[in-house]
Amino acid sequence: MFKKSLVILILWCSFFSASVLLVPHLCQATEPTVADGQDEFSEYDEEVGDLSDPLELVNRAIFTFNDRLHIWVLEPTARGYRKVTPSVLRTGLLNFFNNLLEPTRIINSLLQGRFKAAGETFLRFILNTTAGVGGLMDPATFEGLKSHEHQFASTLADYGVASGPYIVLPFFGPNDLRGIFGLVGDTLTCPLFFILNNDPLAAAAVQTSDTVNRTSFRLDEYEKMLSGALDPYIAVRDAYGQHQQEVLGE
């Protein structure tokens, strides 16, 4: 009888201590062994996406141009604008421009077969244009209607078009070959395009106002984001690549 209890006790103790040994925090050294090193790094070994950059030299030049433009022209302008413009007006303008992007989103949601998203975006557009007084207000978000970022670039990706090389556009910033074709489609489906009737100067003025207004909500963010980057060009290119990979799932 005594022997049996002893056996049980030994079994229990050995089981308990075996499980305890498996618990990581009780025996892991602060510096993992070399064998572990292999596993650790492999989590980040996978190449994210296939964004090639054959145009790196040109891209870097344009990136530097955009960077200077942002810090020396855009930020100060947005800062001054913010000082003299009541936030109600700035928010109204932001809502207005966001609303004008909805028709493009509806079309692309349909092209991608995302009917629920198309429907929700359609409702957003109707609600914000009517109850939101021409898009100046955003009751749709308040009502819980979500925004769906579907544009022509994502539709092309959905149809299997590869991204093509990384291209930095003057003013517009990081993009790729597919994205540029996407921009064309997006512009053609924007209501403003018809209103402005192909007047490039007016279009530039409108685009500039939109950008300055948007920046007024994000002052210093650009600089802060890049303040820790050793190579801002690579930091932005990598961030763009990672974002595209996640959002377009390629």
């Binding site: 308990f16 925090h25 190579d231 990672q242």
Partner: protein, 210 residues
Amino acid sequence: MLRHRLIVLIQLSFFLLLSFVPVNLWGGDSGPQQQLEVSINHLLDVLRDETLKGDEQQNLRRERIAEVVFMQFDMRRMAKLALGRDWKGLSDAERCRFTGLFRDLLKKSYVATIDGYADEEISYRKEIIKGFKAEVKTLVISRIRGEIPLSYKLHVEEGKWLIYDVIIENVSLVRNYRSQFGPIMKKKGFIGLIAQMEKKVALAGEKKDG
């Protein structure tokens, strides 16, 4: 005889039961999301602290933010992963120096970026635990910036869950630094990398209040 059998049965079932108890429970550890929430709440306290608001308080405020944030970071692991396999060839002193500089770089950018957020709501979306690693997905809900996905990758060490990567709007911090460090290591070697990091940290220090 029967009573003895009963005792054996009870003992057997007891230790069978123990085998199904999740490892966490034994140490009395809280999960990654729980520990993260505590840190984030501390952080929000600092961000909402009226006495720390304003430009004059910027340095102090950012020091406090760094304190709270970095307590939950495994900075050494982050630096190691950001450098990649070249870490293996470094001496202890070199690793220490590199980690310190990496921390300084993060302090300038990551902490400064957090400093801009105060009125935001954090929504905890998902907690995925796989053995010693975990991912906690959150959403930062800002009136003006919309919804920003923010995920944390953590690993557990002595019951404490520590962050080794932050993924902001689908962009991993570790991966982003790796993409920068790689070419620099290739071109200028470790010495060159350290030099560039020191230069950046010094530069950022000068420009801080700009």
